[in-house]
Symmetry: none
Subunit: 411 residues, 2 copies
Amino acid sequence: MKINAERLKRHFESMSLIGKIGETGTCRPAHSPEEKQAFELASSWMKEAGMTTRIDNFGNLIGTLKGKKPELPVLMIGSHLDSQPYGGRFDGVAGVLSGIEAVATLTENGITPDRTIEVVSFADEEGWRFNKGLFGSKGILGKNTEEDALRKDKDGLSRLDALKEFGCDVNNFQASVYPEGSIYCYLELHIEQGPVLDIAKKPIGVVTGISGPLWLTVTLKGQAGHTGSVPMPLRKDALLGAAEIIVALNRIATQVKENPTVGTVATINVFPASRNIIAEEVAFTVDLRDIDLDRRNRYEKQLYEKIEEITKKNGLTYTIKEDTNSEPRYCADWIKSIITDNCKKLNLDAPELMSGPFHDALPLSYACDYGMIFVRCKDGISHNPLEYASDEDLVMGANVLLGTVMDILKK
Amino acid sequence: MKINAERLKRHFESMSLIGKIGETGTCRPAHSPEEKQAFELASSWMKEAGMTTRIDNFGNLIGTLKGKKPELPVLMIGSHLDSQPYGGRFDGVAGVLSGIEAVATLTENGITPDRTIEVVSFADEEGWRFNKGLFGSKGILGKNTEEDALRKDKDGLSRLDALKEFGCDVNNFQASVYPEGSIYCYLELHIEQGPVLDIAKKPIGVVTGISGPLWLTVTLKGQAGHTGSVPMPLRKDALLGAAEIIVALNRIATQVKENPTVGTVATINVFPASRNIIAEEVAFTVDLRDIDLDRRNRYEKQLYEKIEEITKKNGLTYTIKEDTNSEPRYCADWIKSIITDNCKKLNLDAPELMSGPFHDALPLSYACDYGMIFVRCKDGISHNPLEYASDEDLVMGANVLLGTVMDILKK
């Protein structure tokens, strides 16, 4: 039994037109009219696949294929249809469309499983609009805080108001929370968003887990002064301190070359930012990830020591704000085995790899066992209109997902 | 013979009221009604000191004490009365007021020199209004370009129109240009705008020269990618490259601890500046200064080599744009000696130091010999309402200037 490759291709094409930017880009903000339009299209395909559909109070689109034994915990397949502001056509979309395709294939083959299957497009996975992601997938598990709902976008519109406009009953979030034990397991197919499979020339990968990001904001305070008149030994140059810390973080993250640890500084802001005034204050973000939490904790400690040492040397003061501290979440061995077996059936040599980015699977991992299938993406480019996964790879991925779903249903 | 300390203090106080902001700040834009008011006040003091006054077509205020031999090249003393938008009470003002005070003292003592003395408040030294400074001091030497006159301020008013409003005949700049050889030498007293004298606890310094800044903009291009999914060895991280270059520049500038070389990166811009996307492009400014041009050139070469090496290692491409390349301009030894002698006469141990910032003396250095006297300023703070020089130090500086003028007149 195989999915309908032509239909899946058509679905990708149709979906890419909603919020299309440039030739190949996508901009579908969370809780936006564009996301609504994408939900309507996906909803029509869900219905064709035999599912009933609803949009819950978190702004999630949920398609349900009712099983013969609806009292059993559901098999959930998900991802998201919102995109980065300058994003691609596959991030999130691949998971939702292949989930729908898997269910459509079951239905077309006359299979009504005992267990209910749900395909979910989670709301605001990306998180850029309100500067915090995974809203829908955390929502159904009752993990959002009041603060998450009150966050505002750059136009000053709160998430609560955006959800209201979207048609959600924001006074009744609780009605959309899944009771404990009601989800049997969670599956997500996603493009890799990294170059590992592309370099290894492997179309499909089996995810071992999602490495937890540690996100810090480090602020250094020095003293402004004229770049021409303050002698070097008398300076308290906050940008020099920041540069030394960036270099130190890189050394820490790469101290054992074979390890998958990644450490990055990707934003930096300088005050007063005049070319002839020594930087008085510099704030930058730190992103440290590892599938091995002990090692990440060890490296974090090394980083703190370096910050202490470097700021002392440069006469700076500092603060460190912890924005996020997620632990690695491992995929269930039994689901990994099923995915690997299904890859073998399709003659695919699918390597195991960790996921650096988080996904809707991350919050779900606290509610049930989960598994993830990665599809190769060209040059590892994602969050960019250049993001690309071939039809062939996506079809293979969807077939691996279908096989995995069928094997899980047999359990 | 000494200057009148009480009068000088009064002059500082009166001048600080024009364009006063907050308790101790000043905002007197170039060619503005506030500068005009400052000129009128200074002009009244110049007249009391026996000078005739005029405002030339560049918007300079020039006070002239006619000598007995007016055919001799003039002894010029200058600085400026325009200020930074959020500036202090002493930057520029100190040089103009102590120049007037020195002439007043000569006149009160019945001295009419052979050589004509001129005290000048140069127009738009600061340069922020039209984003280019030293307009008046370059103007009298015929060094302005047409472009300098056409520059617009943030309200869209051109310098030409601002000068017209100020009362200048902008069709006759040439009439205000000093013929070659008509300036014998130039003296300028200025607050240090750096912490060297304050830390050394010395009220007065003898300037050795104005170090020429080399200003570069370096742009590094790497490749964006998800901070969680691109393994460290595969990255082309433009911000890491920039950090390594910032550290390298610091090492280059401080390789000989005793040298006055200063090297600074004070602005940096990252694209796309998202905390979980590896920096694709980073641009930063470099400011390298030294009183020794050979050494600065050598260090510049070392920097270029480092940029080559670091970008290669990180898989980056780069461009370097040279925004400014000024050579150091040395004070005349004979004037430095006279200044030092006059400091000694006042029991001042005045250290020699270079000037990092430029001054009106910079363009003048191409027309005649020049000397500069630095007055200590608290904590090295300048271009800020907190800028502070004590009455005592300013009086000492004015007395050193007076002595220097008298010794030069004897030559």
